[in-house]
């Protein structure tokens, strides 16, 4: 969990997330979205806390966390770069973009660059297929991505002037 907070503070944040959604039917995934928004991931220590608060077994919560690709077990770097791997982007040269990003950052999908700045993730369709290949950096969408535009994205994301 986040190093600057104490375990009890973390637990309070998790319980607050549960509280905000407890009026809903089937709230677990909503709660997990909030926990990930707060911590960048679903910390292992949060699973028993969520389970107890929602009256679920730890296995049920763990099962849900691990089923969905969106939920991470480790906090990402300061920026998350998602590159689409689906067919439309492949048809428009997406594989070269994917290879370039991996080479440039020196990592594979699911990993974070050595300086902790950029986490690279695969995504399967951003719904930007009329301007493939597509990518998303910290929730901002980018279409017709080229090697050059990807470089400037990474530079901007890394806080470096191109």
């Amino acid at each position: 969990m986040n190093a600057v907070t104490t375990p009890s503070e973390d637990e309070a944040r998790i319980l607050a997330a549960v509280e905000r959604h407890s009026h809903r039917d089937g709230p677990l995934i909503e709660v997990l979205h909030e926990v990930q928004a707060a911590f960048g991931c679903i910390p292992a220590g949060s699973v028993p806390v969520i389970a107890r608060a929602l009256n679920l077994s730890r296995a049920e919560v763990h099962g849900v966390v691990t089923f969905y690709h969106h939920f991470r077990s480790k906090a990402p770097g300061r920026h998350v770069l998602q590159i689409c791997r689906a067919e439309s982007c492949q048809a428009a040269g997406g594989k070269a973009i994917e290879a370039h990003a991996k080479k440039r950052l020196g990592i594979e999908f699911g990993q974070t660059s050595a300086d902790g700045r950029v986490t690279l993730e695969a995504v399967y369709c951003l719904g930007l297929c009329a301007c493939s290949p597509a990518a998303m950096l910290d929730g901002e969408v980018h279409g017709r991505v080229t090697r050059e535009s990807l470089d400037s994205l990474i530079d901007a994301g890394a806080g470096v002037k191109p």
């Binding site: 939920f71 428009a92 399967y124 969408v141």
Partner: protein, 515 residues
Amino acid sequence: MSVTVWVPGDAGALALGAEATAQALLAQSRAAGKEVRLRRNGSRGLYWLEPLVEVETPAGRVAYGPVAARDVPDLLAKGLLEGAAHALRLGDIEKHPWLATQQRLTFARVGRIDPLDLAAYRASGGYAGLARALALGPEAAVKEVLDSGLRGRGGAAFPTGIKWQTVLKQAPGQKYVTCNADEGDSGTYSDRMLMEGDPFSLIEGMTIAGVAVGATKGYVYLRVEYPHAFRVLNAAIAKAREAGLLGADVLGSGQAFDMEVRLGAGAYICGEETSMLESLEGRRGEIRVRPPLPAEKGLFGAPTIVNNVITLATVPGILAGGAAAYQAYGQAKSRGTLPLQLAGNIRRGGLVERAFGLTVRELLEDYGGGSLSGRPIRAVQIGGPLGAYLPASQFDTPLEYEALAAIGALLGHGGVVAFDDTVDMLEMARYAMEFCAHESCGKCTPCRIGSVRGAEALAAIGRGEDRDRQLVLVEELCDTMLNASLCGLGGMTPFPVQSALKHFPEDFRAKARGG
């Protein structure tokens, strides 16, 4: 006098720089002492012209595109705000042949209005459908949908009215309307455009479904990859609630209906309806065995309508204009219009809503203008990652349900992805299996194991290892997956694989590959 300028807030337009264009327009016109009123619309769907800027002039809206931020100084200097001539000037975009030849029913408002302007929605016919549904009463409203011939636009093409009838017939009690907005098929984006460009049509469609079948609660299951649609939908729901269009007394009818948006979490399988219901209940998105059908026992065990975004957003127009008017579009058993989505390696990508019947070739050439790379289009995949690959010899097939089924293909959600002649169809077949393995919920063995073995065998063929035996294995795996999977993911992944094998055998032949 301020000049109104429209710049789309659609994610596709933003991906091409619309925000920078909008900010440049605001700042630079202000610096020049001109007052600009910036308004945001959805995308007209002509993505090769995005960011598409429209200026309101006394003679109507004048479009310019594509307008990058760097074009703004020159455009302003040459009189953009007066609608003056420029190399990027397109004139009235609705007279552009790409748009003028379309039949926009579901997308009638997208790109024309501010998506969150409820008054504009109502002024353009919005909520007339709900008013008529309330006046007709449940049975007659459902019959209207049935008579329209509307079939599920998510991909399965099941008659919408029959689904509604089944839910209506269930004993009174808690019922639900759920909207499948987990638009995961590559090459599709019509749900996203609709939700971002005209969210009230979806809200009204869900409300009509609710009052027609006696459901008081609706859920939109939205994929997490669509953060822009999430914001727009939530804002629109809040406005509808404020205006009494959602809540305890919908449109003063005494009937209750309210709705909320739930976010998915990056699982393609949750686009399968029973998996989506599991996910809405907060569980792993593992599919349910049918029967019972969701219409009988769906969300939390209650009778539930599950419809796609486009299906539901089409309903208000059907109710307002009558079943016969909608039914008049289309051919054979494919009635009405379909928003097709051009994607992949294509010169003019975008949304084409037309009555069913346009051929693949007309779509690719007349609208798409051929490939972006300028090379011949060798294959198209229709209907997402579970759809068949078509070779050029099949491009005269009309884009309608039965005609595509007759050649072993499917229309799905209407996405058409073009590939030029550099495509390696063996690799696309391998990717289909890899994608299935990545997204399998794991509940049934044919899908869980078959897809992994299929990807391994196709990779081995690519390396030239034991080709003939591996090909037999791939065929057998496809046969097992096709016939023994519990749902469409395992059951349809063979379509792209087998069609690639059938139509592009040369890509699978033994040759020195990869070297």
